[in-house]
Point group: C2
Chain length 207, copies 2
DNA sequence: AATTGTGAACCTCTTCACAGCT
DNA sequence: AGCTGTGAAGAGGTTCACAATT
């Protein structure tokens, strides 16, 4: 597949949510210009993003909201469930398990890992807490394809390395450290500090 | 000030954390090339990013870790505390209060707002929960400059509008919706769904 | 008449490459 | 000799503008 930019993928996610909202409001047709306005970008950008994947609109009319949402779901790989594991059941881990908003979207946390012997064996929201030593077996048995890293920064690299050996290629990393992975592995970082610091920079230098 | 790109600011945050780690490990001098390797980018990128703000290195030698960290802290506006309010004390809100990692970095949550009368008046971690009706007064009294939006998506825009009226210019938005704000206001979005969907796209199309 | 899909133009960000310092 | 700082070149992403279509 032709290289698609990260920005395009992020915007597709946004269009997807925009369309979900529109469908809920009973809108059944929309123009690239309206999608653009909602997201504060240009209509050419919307059309160009979509054009990488096909032609989904009708000239003179616009896009059918349901169909376009369906197409974007297909592009993003959201027409199926993903089995997700979470590593590290400390503050962030606990918070994420509680906030299971994303379960609705097909991301199911089916296993938790922690290396605290006190926690191993317990169950949270009917998800078992396992020892990291059992990772290889559990990843295979449960067909886990995405791993959320919620361990302290100093353990993030080793943890990711371990799960790569178990065959995992996709990570959502909450540890605020840079990690190195091979080309066939993707790590996405979720790091509130970066956003807060961007706000701090803005208030200090720009506003 | 000359327009600085968002990417540059994000990378400065990363260099800042890289330097913090290096200092903890007792490293006192580092080259742009080493900073680059740690963050999987090029050394020219590191030097260019820094060059927008001044010249911090010594040719032939590299950078002093403590001094560079200090300079970046100054650039990002981290040499002071920021008073932060959180709006919405549901699942995400509770999680964030528990996860006060960022308190260490000078971001202090000093007020919580919720419009559930049952919650108003309670205290969490010695932070009072207030009615949103009192926002104007509290923002002024506590000198709140950053507001974290942890309300349901359908209320995000109205909540942000309200706090803009109270004089707030910087928001960290956890609601998964696009919001519109004037030019002198910055909203940073923290949206796990976008990252998970990027992983889903990668696993589906790229890997 | 309205709106898409897209090549071309434009702009921004990244990398190169080297003069200039230490 | 080694590494920074930076103008120039290159790559990549965004917007323009218009032919094609409904």
């Amino acid at each position: 597949m032709k290289k698609i930019s990260d920005s395009t993928i992020r915007r597709l996610s946004k269009y997807y949510r925009t369309l979900t909202g529109l469908i809920e409001s009973g809108v059944d047709t929309i123009s690239s210009n309206e999608i653009a306005n909602i997201n504060s970008i240009t209509s050419a950008q919307v059309r160009k993003d979509l054009s990488f994947f096909g032609t989904f609109g009708k000239r003179g009319l616009g896009y059918n909201t349901e169909q376009l949402r369906e197409q974007i779901a297909k592009i993003l790989g959201l027409k199926r469930n993903w089995n997700v594991a979470m590593v590290g059941f400390g503050n962030i881990g606990r918070a994420l398990i509680n906030y299971m908003e994303f379960k609705k979207q097909g991301f199911h946390i089916s296993a938790i890992f922690d290396n605290d012997p006190m926690k191993v064996g317990q169950e949270v929201e009917s998800i078992k807490i396992n020892s990291i030593d059992d990772a290889a077996d559990i990843v295979r048995e449960q067909n886990i394809e995405i791993v959320i890293i919620a361990v302290p920064g100093k353990h993030a690299q080793a943890t990711i390395d371990h799960f790569i050996k178990c065959g995992v290629h996709a990570f959502l990393n909450f540890a605020p450290v840079a990690v190195k992975v091979p080309d066939d592995v993707l790590v996405k970082n979720e790091n509130m500090s970066i956003e807060l610091e961007a706000l701090s920079f803005f208030l200090t230098n720009v506003k």
